[in-house]
Amino acid sequence: MLRRAIVCLALMSAPMAVSAAGDVTEFQLDNGMDVVVIEDHRSPAVVHMVWYRVGAADEPAGHSGIAHFLEHLMFKGTDDLGDGEFSDIVEANGGSDNAFTSWDYTGYFQRVAADRLGLMMEMEADRMRDLIITEDQVRTERSVILEERAQRLDTSPGGLFNEQMRAALFMNHPYDTTIIGWRHEMEQLSLQDARAFYDLYYAPNNAILIVAGDVQPDEVRALAQEHYGPLAPSEGIVTRERPAEPPHTTDRRVVFTDARVANPYVSRMVLAPAREPGDQAGAAALMLLAQILGGSNVTAVLSRQLQVEEGRSLFAGAFYNDTSYDPDSFTLINMPVPGVSLAEAEADLDRVIATFLETGIDPAQFDRVKFQLAAAQIYAQDDVQGLAREYGVALTSGLSVADVQAWPDIIAATTIEDVMTAARRVLVDTPSVTGYLSQPAEIAAVVEADAPIADATTPEEATQ
C-alpha cells in the first residue's frame, strides 16, 4: 500500500505543483527586465519582489559589505520620496516591506493587498534609478550595519566560526568573505562606494521582477510595462565571472576557540558543485545525499548511528547548498555529548562515513526521503512568498524557470547509484577543511575536570 502511494505521488507531484496554487508565467520587458508571476488566489494578498543579479561576491576588493550596505541605503530617499517615506507608504497601505542580501543576489520585497501592486511597482521603479543618499545618512546607517554585524556574528561564536570556515574553504573565490563584510572594511564604506555599486548594477536589465499572489499575469504585464518599462537599461551589465577556485589539493584545519562556546562541535566543509542551467542531476544527487546523511534527527545515517544507537552525539548532520551561482559547499557537522572530545567526534564522523561508503543506502530510507521531498512540493504551495523566494534564488543563481520546474522530476529520477557516486566525490575525492569550535583550552580543561566521564588526555589537546 505504501509503495503504491509513493508511485502515485512521484508521478503526481509535478503537475500538482503547477496547477493547484502556483501557476507560473514568465516574460521579459523590452529593456531586459525579467518577470515571473506566480498565482495564488486563496487570499487577497500579493508579494512584490525585485531581485538584482548582484551580491556580496560581486563587490570590489577591499570594500566588503557594500552590497548589503547599499541595500540598507535603498530605504533612504529618491528624487520623489523623502527619507523613510518608502516604508511609510507601504505601512500606510497595510503592507510590510524588507530586503535581503546574499553572495549572489540583493532582493527587495513588499507584501500588500493585491490592489496596491501598481503603487509598489511605482515606488520600486523610482528607487531603481533615482536613489538619493547623503553623507549624514551614510554615517548613521553605517553604524546600524556595524550593530547588525555585532548582533549576527560578533555575539555568536558559531557565526564567527562559520565565517572563518568559509574564509579557509574558499582560497580564491569571493564566497570566502562574509556577506555583511569584514568589520575593518565596513567601517570605511563610503557614499561613493555605495553610489558606484548602485550606478553599475541597479538597472532593469540586471533585475528580476517576481509577483506572487492574487494577480493575473496580464495585469502584472500591463503594470510592469507602465512602471518598469520606461527605465533605461544599463550598458555596464555583463555576465558575472568571479575568480574561480584552484583545485583543492590538501586538507586544511581551523581551530576556533571562544569562551562563550556552550556546545563544542566539529565541522567539515568541502567545495561542492551547485545546480547548473540544464544540468541539475549532480546537485540533485548531493541534495539527496545530505538528506540521507542528515535529513532527520533520528533516521538519517549520522543521527541514527551517533545520536540514537551510540549516544555519542547531541547532533550530527549534513548540509548542502544546492542553489548558488558558483560552486559552494557540502558540510558535515558532529556535536558530541559532554565527555567526548572533538578529536573523538571527528573520528566518529570518519568511521560512520567510511561504513556508509561501504554499505551504501538502505532502499527503504531512500524511498522515504524521496516521498518526503515530493510531498514538500505540495506543502510549499501553502507559502506563496516562499515559492517566490525559491524562484528568486534560482534565477539569480543562473537557473531558468524551466530548471526550477524540472527540479522535482530530476530528484525523482535520481538513483541510489547516482547518490553514492556523488558521495564518493565529496566525501573521498575532494580535500576538505575540518574545523573545531570549542572553549579555550584552559577553560575546556576546567570543564573536563568537573565531568566524571571526561578523558584527561584527549587527542583533541594534541591537535591544538
Binding site: 505504501l2 502511494a5 505521488l9 500538482m16 493547484a20 496554487a21 486563496r42 487570499s43 487577497p44 494578498a45 520623489d80 520620496l81 523613510g84 516604508s87 511609510d88 507608504i89 505601512e91 500606510a92 497601505n93 497595510g94 503592507g95 510590510s96 500588500v112 493587498a113 490592489d115 503603487l119 511605482e122 515606488m123 548613521t140 553605517r142 553604524s143 546600524v144 550595519i145 556595524l146 550593530e147 547588525e148 555585532a150 560578533d154 555575539t155 569562551a259 562556546v261 556552550a262 556546545n263 533516521t299 541514527r304 545520536q307 540514537v308 549516544g311 547531541l314 556535536m335 555529548v337 522515504r368 516521498f371 518526503q372 515530493a374 510531498a375 505540495i378 501553502d382 507559502d383 506563496v384
Partner: protein, 437 residues
Amino acid sequence: MIMPRVTAVLTAIVIALPAWAIDIQEVTSPGGIDAWLVADDTIPFVALEVWFRGGTSVDPDGARGAVNLMTGLLEEGAGDLDAQGFAAATENLAANFGFAAYRDSVGISALMLTENRDTAVDLLRSALIAPRFDDTALERVRGQVLAGIEGDAQDPDAIASASFNAMAYGDHPYATSGDGTQESVTALTRDDMTAAHGAVFSRDNVVVAAAGDITAEELGLLVDRLLGDLPAGAAPLPGPAPYLLAGGTTVVDFPTPQSSVLFGHRGLERDDPDFFAAFVLNQILGGGGFRSRLMQEVRVDRGLTYGIYSYLALSDYAPMWMGQFSSSNDLVAEAVAVTQAEWADVAQNGVTDEELDAAIRYMTGAYPLRFDGNDTIANILAAMQADDMPVSYVEDRNAFITAVTQDDIRRIATRLLDPDALHFVVVGQPDGLMTGN
C-alpha cells in the same frame, strides 16, 4: 514626480479594505469536542493545531522541566514503535508533526496529506495517547535539553530573559525557565514523564483548529479519533504571578562586544476595556516596521542598534509591556537613555494625529493579509480560541482598531506608560551603566 498619485491611492484605501471575509466554521465533534475550521481544498493537505492550556507552568513541584522533556519525548516512540520506528512511519506518510512546550500551553502542530490522513492521525494519536518514554530515548532527549540549557547560559538574550523573570515573578513558575535547570532535569525520572503527561493532556483544556482540505464532518471524526480517549481533568492552572520588579537597571556582566537589553513594566489583560488603545499605542511606540518612535529615534536617527521593538506580552499570568534591543557596549547607555526619553515623551505628550492615523491604517490593512495559508490560518484560529475570542472577532477586529481615539490613547498612556517603572536588564559589559534604581 510620483507624490500626487501616491496621495491619491492613500486616500482610496479606507474604502477598499473592508471587502474581506473569511469563513470560519465552528465544529462540534460527535463526541462533543469543539474545533474551528477554515476549509479550502486548493492544496491536498490539512494543517491541524491542537493546544493544551497549562504548558510548562503546570510542572509538578520539584520537577521543573518535566513538561518540556515529556513534550520532547512524544515523537520518540509510541505504541509498538520505538523512536526510529515512529520517525520512519512519519516519514513514510510525509506528515510533519511538531510538539512544543510553552509557558502557557503545549502545542501540537500537524501537516497531513489528504491521501493518507487517516493513517497519519492514528500515528499522531499514538504519540499523544501512548508515548513510551523509553529509557534510551529519555536519556538522549535529556542530553539535548541539558545542552540547550548550557547554550542559554552562554546566550546574552536568554540570560537577559532569565534575569528579568527571576527578579520579577517571585515564586511563580514564570520566574524560572520551563526547560528546567541542570539539576532539576538531571533528576527527572520516567515517573515524572508519566505525571507530566497526565497533568497536560486532557480533553477539557484543549483547543483545536484546522485549515485546508477537510470537511467539517471529516474534522469532527478526526478530532474524536485523536482526542476522544483523553481523560477529563487537567492539572490546576497556576494563579496570577506577582510583579516584584521596581524601575531601574540591572547589569549582568557577560564578555560580549554588544549588550543585549530587555526592558519592561506591567501591561494589561487582553479583556481590559482599553486593550485596543494600548495595542495601537504600542504599534506607534515600538511595534514592528521602521516607522515606530523607538525604531526612528534609536536606529534610524542615531544608529545605536540594528533593531528595537516593544510589545504587549499577553501571557496568561503576567501581562507585561516589554521591549528589547542590542547595542554595542559603548553605545548601549545612550540607547537606554533615548528609550526612556521616548517612553516619557509618549506618556506625557501622547502621539500626533498623523501617527495615530498611520498606525490604524497599517493595522487594519495588514490584518486580512495574515490569513494567507492553511498553516498560518490554523495557528490564528488556535490562538483566538486560546484567548477566548469569538469567531466574530475576525469580522469586528478592524472596527475595534479604527474606534481608538486620541482620548483613548491619552488615557492608556497616562495609566500604563511609566518611564520610572521601566526596568532594564543589560547583559554585556556596557560603558556607563550600572545596576541601580
